[in-house]
C-alpha cells in the first residue's frame, strides 16, 4: 500500500538521525498524541520521539513538519521501520530525514558569578510562582485532599532533596528523589518533571560533566526505571546524562552563563511546556542550580571546564 503521508523532518537528535540514515532502526509506537509520538526502539529499548513542527528539539527526538499525528491515524502498536534516510510508521506515514538539521543539547560555554546566579534564581522563582501552571508544585488545580497532599509531598521531597544535595549527602538525596519519582498528576508525574529539570541543570553546569562522577544521577536513573512510566523515565535518564530538550537547555544557559539576555524569555518558553510540566521542570532547574552553589561546585574551577 502506498497510502502513507510523507513528511519531512526539520531537525533531529544527531544519534537518532544517524540511526535513521544508517543502520536499520525498528520499533513500535509506544504512545501517540496529537503533537508527539513515542516509539519504543526494539534493539535498545529506548523511547524515541517524533514531535510536530511547533515543538522544540530534544534528546532522541525528530521535529517533523506536520500538525497532528493522530489525524494521520498513528496509534499505539504501529510498527516503525527506518533505514536509508526515511522512517516508516505502519503503512501510514513516511518521515524523510534528508536535509534535517542535526541537533545536540546546547551547553553553557561560561558560568556567571555566584551572586548573579542567586539573583537570577530568585527572580525566576518569583516568576514561576506568579505565572506557573497549577497542578503539582503550585496548588489550585483541584481543591481536593489528593491534590493538597500531593503538593505537600512534592515540596517536602524537593526541599529535602535540595538540602541533601547542598551538603553532598548522596544517600539522603536519593531517599528524597525516590519519594518524588512518579508523584503527582499528569502523563509525566510532577515529581519526575522536577527531577528532569534538576538533573539537566546539574549535568550541564557541573565541573565534571561526565555522568560517571555523579553517583546521585546514576542512582536516580536506577530508581526511575521501575518507579515511573517509560515516557517520564526516558526524559529523566537523558537529563541525567546532560541531554534535555532545547527549551530547558536554553533556560539553564540563560540562568547560568554570562549572557546579557534576561532569562525571562527562556523561562516563558519552558513554562509553556505541557500542562504543568513546564512549571515543575523550571522549579527543578532552579533547585538544581542552587544545589551547585550550596555544595560549593559553582565557585570552584568552572574556569577550567573548557
Amino acid at each position: 500500500m502506498r497510502a502513507h503521508v510523507t513528511m519531512q523532518a526539520r531537525s533531529g537528535d544527531g544519534a537518532f538521525l544517524a540511526r535513521v540514515n544508517g543502520a536499520a532502526f525498528a520499533g513500535v509506537v509506544h504512545s501517540a498524541f496529537h503533537r508527539a509520538v513515542n516509539i519504543a526502539c526494539l534493539s535498545n529499548g529506548e523511547l524515541h520521539t517524533l514531535v510536530t513542527g511547533d515543538l522544540d528539539d530534544g534528546p532522541n527526538s525528530l521535529v517533523v513538519v506536520t500538525e497532528d499525528f493522530l489525524a494521520i491515524g498513528i496509534c499505539q502498536g504501529d510498527s516503525v521501520r527506518a533505514g536509508g534516510g526515511s522512517l516508516a510508521i505502519a503503512g501510514k506515514a513516511m518521515v524523510n530525514v534528508a536535509g534535517a538539521v542535526v541537533w545536540r543539547t546546547p551547553v553553557p560555554e561560561t558560568h556567571c558569578a555566584t551572586g548573579l546566579l542567586r539573583r537570577r534564581l530568585a527572580e525566576a522563582e518569583a516568576t514561576i510562582r506568579c505565572n506557573g501552571t497549577p497542578g503539582g508544585f503550585i496548588e489550585g488545580m483541584a481543591d481536593t485532599e489528593v491534590a493538597r497532599l500531593t503538593t505537600r509531598m512534592l515540596h517536602e521531597g524537593a526541599d529535602g532533596l535540595a538540602l541533601a544535595l547542598g551538603r553532598g549527602d548522596t544517600d539522603a538525596a536519593l531517599t528524597h528523589a525516590r519519594r518524588l519519582l512518579g508523584l503527582g498528576p499528569g502523563l509525566t508525574p510532577s515529581g519526575d518533571d522536577f527531577l528532569t529539570g534538576l538533573l539537566a541543570a546539574r549535568a550541564l553546569c557541573r565541573r565534571q560533566a561526565d555522568l560517571g562522577s555523579d553517583a546521585f544521577a546514576h542512582g536516580v536513573i536506577r530508581l526511575a526505571k521501575s518507579a515511573t512510566n517509560p515516557i517520564a523515565y526516558a526524559a529523566i535518564a537523558k537529563a541525567a546524562r546532560g541531554e534535555v530538550r532545547e527549551r530547558v537547555a536554553r533556560l539553564i544557559i540563560a540562568l547560568g552563563s554570562t549572557t546579557a539576555e534576561p532569562p525571562s524569555q527562556a523561562l516563558a518558553q519552558v513554562l509553556a511546556i505541557g500542562s504543568s510540566s513546564g512549571t515543575e521542570i523550571a522549579f527543578g532547574v532552579i533547585r538544581g542550580l542552587a544545589s551547585l552553589i550550596d555544595n560549593g561546585e559553582w565557585d570552584h574551577g568552572h574556569q577550567d571546564r573548557h
Binding site: A142, L149, G182, P185, L187, P189, S226, N229
Partner: protein, 514 residues
C-alpha cells in the same frame, strides 16, 4: 463514602487532557473527589494516605492510568466513572471531530448526547415504524408524515402518553419548541402564550397574529389533524394542554382546531378548564356555547383568539393595533366589479386558512364549494373545475399525492390562477403567501408573472379583476414580510392583514349589499 476505581491499562493521554479531565471530573455532581493519575508507587501512596487506595488501584502499574472517585454512594461513584469515561472519549476526539452518518434512530440516539426529539418526514407507510422506534428510544416525536392509519396513530399516541412523551402528528406541520420553529413555523417573539394546535397553518396564523399584536409565544405543540377524531380521543391535545399547564413560562393557552367530535370536545374542554391557566379556544366553526359553558374564552376567528390571548397575557387593549377591517376599500372595490363578477375563488396553501375563509363566506352565501367541504353536496366533484364560490386547499391530498406541498412547489397554483382569471364570473381571487421556516424563499416572487398575466387577461376582457393577497408571516421571518407585501402591491394585489380579514374582505367585495 463510596470509592470506585477504573484502570486504563497502558493508556497514555497527554498531560493537558489529563489535567482538563481531572478538573472536570472533580466538578461532576456528587463527586467528593476524583484522582486521575499514572499508577506509580508514589501516587498510590498518596491514595493510601487519603484512604482511597482500592485493591484495583493497588494493582495498577506505572504505565496504567488510575481513575479513583470518592462520593456519597456507590451509584453516584459508578455514574461519575461513566461520566469521566465520557470526558476521555471527548478528549480522545476519535469520533467527535468527525461527521458521522447514522442510519437508524437507535444509533443516532446512542451517539448524540441530549437528543430529545425526532422529526419523522418519510413516506407514510414507513412513518409509524420510525416513530415507534423513536418513542421506544425515549424521544419525543413530531411526525410530519401523513397517510398513516388511524389505528397506528392511536397506538403511537397511547405509547407516547404512557411514556410521558409528546407524539405530535401524524400530519403535524408546525411546532415551536424550546425557541426553535420546527418544519413550517414563523419566527415569533418569545413570550408567555402557549398554543396547542390540531392544524398547522391555524397555529401559524394565531402565532403570527399574537406576534403582530405585541404578544409572544412559549411553545407551539402540534397534535396532527385527526387528534380530535373520536377514535383518537384528543390524547395529544389533552397531553399538550397538561404540558403547557406545567410549563412555568406559559401563562395563557390557546387551542386551535376544527370542531371536535362531541365526546372528544367535552373531554378536551374539561381538561382545559381544569388546567389552572386561562385558555382561549379557537374551534373554527365550533360552538361558542360549549366553550363558554366550560368556563373558557371563545375565539370565533383566529384573529379574535389571538387578540383575546394577548389581552389575557397582560397587554393593554388600548395599546394594540387591532387592524380593523377597511370598510371604504370594500365599497371602492365593489364599484369596480361588473354585476356578473359575483364569485370568490380562493386558491390557498394553508388548510386552516382555507377553512376559516370558507366559514366566513358561508355565513353570507350558501353556494360555497371546496375540495375540503364536509357536505358532499358542496364538495367539488372535479377539483380542477371551480363552481361559483370555490375555496381550494392546495395542501390537501388531492393536490399533494406524490408531489411537494404547494408551500414549496407553486406550479399547480400558478396554472389555476390563470385559469380563474379567464372566468368572467370571478370577482375576486384570494391567495395566501406563507413565510417562515420550511416555506418557499420567495413565495410572492414566484407568483408575480402569473399575477400580471391574470390581471392582463381580465383587462383585455374589459373587466377589473380583484386579487386579494394575504401574507402569513412576521417581521422576524427570513423572507422579509415588508418586501413580500411590496412585491404584491406593485402588481396591483390588495393586501389583507390577517386571514380573518382576508375572508371578510373577499366576502364583502362580491356582496350585493353592505
Amino acid at each position: 463514602m463510596a470509592i470506585k476505581t477504573a484502570i486504563k491499562r497502558n493508556t497514555y493521554f497527554d498531560s493537558v487532557s489529563l489535567m482538563s479531565v481531572t478538573g472536570r471530573a472533580n466538578a461532576v455532581a456528587g463527586v467528593d473527589q476524583a484522582m486521575i493519575g499514572m499508577g506509580t508507587a508514589m501516587n498510590k501512596e498518596v491514595l493510601q494516605n487519603v484512604g482511597m487506595l482500592t485493591p484495583e488501584a493497588a494493582e495498577a502499574q506505572s504505565g496504567d492510568l488510575m481513575i479513583v472517585v470518592r462520593s456519597a454512594s456507590d451509584e453516584i461513584a459508578e455514574q461519575a466513572l461513566v461520566e469521566i469515561d465520557e470526558l476521555f472519549k471527548q478528549k480522545g476526539g476519535n469520533e467527535s471531530g468527525r461527521k458521522m452518518n447514522y442510519a437508524t434512530i437507535e444509533s443516532a440516539v446512542a451517539h448524540v448526547p441530549g437528543a430529545n426529539l425526532a422529526i419523522i418526514a418519510v413516506a407514510g407507510e414507513f412513518a409509524s415504524r420510525e416513530a415507534r422506534r423513536a418513542l421506544e428510544s425515549g424521544l419525543h416525536v413530531m411526525m410530519f408524515s401523513d397517510n398513516v392509519s388511524i389505528e397506528d396513530e392511536v397506538a403511537l399516541k397511547t405509547l407516547a402518553h404512557d411514556k410521558g412523551l409528546l407524539m405530535m402528528g401524524p400530519d403535524c406541520g408546525t411546532a415551536y419548541i424550546g425557541g426553535v420553529g420546527l418544519c413550517f413555523a414563523n419566527a415569533v417573539r418569545a413570550g408567555n402564550i402557549g398554543i396547542v394546535g390540531a392544524s398547522g397553518t391555524g397555529s401559524q396564523e394565531v402565532a403570527a397574529r399574537i406576534h403582530d399584536f405585541g404578544g409572544g409565544i412559549t411553545q407551539i405543540i402540534g397534535t396532527g389533524g385527526r387528534d380530535l377524531n373520536e377514535k383518537v380521543g384528543g390524547i395529544m391535545m389533552i397531553d399538550g394542554i397538561n404540558a403547557l399547564a406545567r410549563d412555568p413560562a406559559t401563562e395563557v393557552i390557546v387551542l386551535v382546531s376544527k370542531p371536535p367530535a362531541k365526546s372528544v370536545q367535552d373531554k378536551v374542554l374539561a381538561a382545559a378548564a381544569s388546567c389552572g391557566k386561562p385558555v382561549v379556544a379557537c374551534l373554527l366553526g365550533g360552538s361558542e356555547e360549549a366553550v363558554t359553558k366550560a368556563g373558557l374564552q371563545f375565539g370565533k376567528t383566529t384573529k379574535e383568539a389571538a387578540l383575546k390571548a394577548v389581552i389575557r397575557a397582560g397587554r393593554k387593549e388600548e395599546e394594540i393595533n387591532k387592524r380593523a377591517l377597511n370598510l371604504p376599500l370594500i365599497a371602492e372595490t365593489r364599484a369596480k366589479l361588473k354585476p356578473e363578477q359575483r364569485y370568490i375563488r380562493a386558491l390557498l396553501c394553508g388548510g386552516t386558512l382555507c377553512e376559516e375563509m370558507m366559514l366566513i363566506a358561508k355565513e353570507s352565501y350558501d353556494n360555497v364549494y371546496s375540495n375540503i367541504a364536509k357536505d358532499p353536496a358542496r364538495k367539488l366533484k372535479d377539483v380542477s373545475t371551480s363552481i361559483e364560490h370555490t375555496f381550494i386547499d392546495f395542501g390537501d391530498d388531492d393536490f399533494t399525492r406524490g408531489r411537494p406541498h404547494p408551500m414549496i412547489d407553486p406550479s399547480q397554483r400558478l396554472a389555476r390562477l390563470v385559469q380563474e382569471a379567464r372566468d368572467p364570473s370571478v370577482g375576486v381571487i384570494v391567495l395566501d403567501f406563507i413565510l417562515g421556516y420550511g416555506a418557499h424563499e420567495d413565495p410572492a416572487g414566484v407568483m408575480i408573472p402569473a399575477l400580471v398575466e391574470a390581471k392582463q387577461i381580465a383587462a383585455t376582457d374589459g373587466r377589473h379583476l380583484e386579487i386579494l393577497g394575504y401574507v402569513l408571516g412576521t417581521d422576524l421571518d427570513s423572507q422579509s414580510l415588508a418586501e413580500q407585501t411590496a412585491k404584491l402591491s406593485e402588481v396591483g394585489v390588495t393586501i389583507a392583514s390577517s386571514c380573518t380579514n382576508a375572508g371578510l374582505l373577499a366576502r364583502g367585495f362580491v356582496s350585493k349589499e353592505i
